[in-house]
Amino acid sequence: MSGNACSPLREPLVLGGKKLGDITQDVCGSIEGKPSTLWWFGFLLALTVAGIGAATMGYQIYTGIGTWGLNKTVGWAFDITNFVFWVGIGHAGTLISAILCLFRQKWRTSVNRSAEAMTIFAVICAAIFPFIHMGRPWFGAFWALPYPNFRGPLWVNFRSPLLWDVFAISTYFTISLVFWFIGLIPDNATVRDRAKHWLRRAFYGTVSLGWDGSVKKWNHYETAYLIFAGLSTPLVVSVHTIVSMDFATSVIPGWHTTIFPPYFVIGAIFSGFAMVQTLLLVARKTMRLESYITVNHLEVMAKIILLTGSLVGLAYGTEFFIAWYSGSQYEQFAFINRATGPFSWAYWIMVSCNVLSPQVLWFRALRRNPVVLFIMSIFVNIGMWFERFVIIVTSLHRDFLPSSWSYYTPTWVEAVTFIGTFGIFFTCFFLFIRLLPAIAFGEVKGVMKWGQPKGHSHDAGHSHAHGEVKHA
């Protein structure tokens, strides 16, 4: 990186003077060789955790929801907390690929593939919870869908936010999957063409759908990709809005709040970015992707985290103000109880992790320090889990009639189930980084000249074919 022709505004997106072939080699090489011991260790560990989690879920489904610590007053706790938590995590992936795509933020290319994969795996983990939280999932799995039947027919209730969730989550999952899959097609084609073994050729041949790099196809492809970005952006906002409506449309003080849709969406962006950062910091270190995931990328994300974290803090304050302003004694109590009641510990964990810890990012040095960012992102992940826990449990445990007030203590089953979803998530992730190109190198190649010294270009007239470079 000699400073002779460096872009005055931006640092290069790809460091180390890579050539096109180097990128292909870097990314494909990692999935072509034999998996490393570290990979096997990680994969088997994740698989074990996932297996234990799955067995626990099986036990719970067979024995009943009673294996959880729920009670007559607190009907949701870990289950829906985990659901919202995972959905929130999932949102960052879509945001990075879709919204940043629409905003032409080129730095997304190095991270968007894994972020999208994270979305899909997080949504899988999230979708587990609405399923297993049902008392009778063996019926609920299909009764919640509107299909013609012999019951009169008795359909579903389109007034129920839970049904909206069914549509929102399945749409979100489907569209994210399609988006991710379409993004993978050219890269898979690359892997296919490099493959030596017939099995690999067959596999990547199937998942690349016969892609040949024709510009006639690129023409449709680019348009479709943009459309998906355009569809996903409102979708990601709608999904967390709908998730928030599970609470916002109810009558329970602490849930019955109009601020929830924006509050949840911001919270999702916040937690999602924190999770992406956690994963990237690990991936960057362990997979030696420092050239692709630069400190610059991390800093940009840190700024978003700082912004959204402060917005979340604003939302917490607004809730209290509105509770006071409403004049409703139930509403006021719900919030006083949140901060001072039996679950105040959870509340204060939430506030310190979500609002206070990101404030360190005001300092540039800390923003660019991977260790600080890692610790902070873990805090944010914890804090955002507690945010959902606080909203769900503290609102439920003391609502209108004091006679029903109670407390909630989780059981080992809930804890193991939650940990198990991390196992599922990481199992998927480990498989993903072994099987599919973890970096969208097709897109990276498209932006690699960005901020690079004009190297081997021979025709100055064509050197700035990328209009964005100029406008940047």
Binding site: L154, F158, P186, L209, G210, W211, D212, W218
Partner: protein, 183 residues
């Protein structure tokens, strides 16, 4: 009936862009251009029209919206109107989230199908790669050897843009098949 092609292989996207423009200026009929990534502006340079896939999305999204609205109206009001929570049997505000989701879902799925149809993509398709590194780091312009074609002009033009190779191929040529590889 395979078409005869004259192909230039390039290493840099800017060269390809320039070469394509000049090919068009020279009046050659470009069969296709193959690139490992979407080179910005190349499609326009080739004179390709904007993709019609947007209309698929729009139409199917609208279809999804209509389907959702008719489904919910039929279900909650016409087929079995129930008193649920004292609310109307036609609660339009409650329909909004599902309407949006169905619009996006059906619009999105049809876009995917549209893409596959427009690009003739499907699992198991043999891509007939013209050059083994086209998905890696090489670019290729394939010009039709028809009445507008001039071999001297073409090779000169390709060379001007630092073409690495120049090949005579036909449209059915598959570099992997010709190497005896399976695909």
């Amino acid at each position: 009936m395979p078409e005869l092609l004259y192909c230039g292989v390039f290493k840099d996207d800017e060269d390809v862009l320039g070469a394509v423009k000049e090919c068009r200026e020279a009046g050659f009929d470009i069969h296709d251009v193959y690139t490992p990534y979407a080179v910005h502006g190349l499609d326009r340079a080739m004179g390709l029209p904007f993709s019609k896939i947007t209309w698929v999305t729009f139409g199917c999204g609208l279809g999804g919206l209509t389907f959702g609205l008719s489904l919910m109206t039929y279900v909650t009001d016409y087929d079995w109107a129930m008193n649920v929570g004292g609310k109307s049997s036609l609660p339009f505000p409650a329909f909004v989230p599902v309407l949006f989701e169905l619009t996006v879902l059906i619009g999105g799925l049809c876009t995917m199908l549209g893409l596959f149809i427009f690009c003739r993509l499907y699992p198991g398709k043999n891509p007939k790669m013209k050059h083994p590194r086209l998905t890696d780091d090489r670019f290729m312009i394939a010009v039709k050897k028809n009445q507008n074609f001039n071999i001297g002009r073409a090779s000169e033009l390709f060379r001007k843009f630092h073409a690495e190779q120049m090949l005579d191929l036909d449209s059915e040529y598959d570099c992997f098949a010709s190497q005896g590889g399976t695909s």
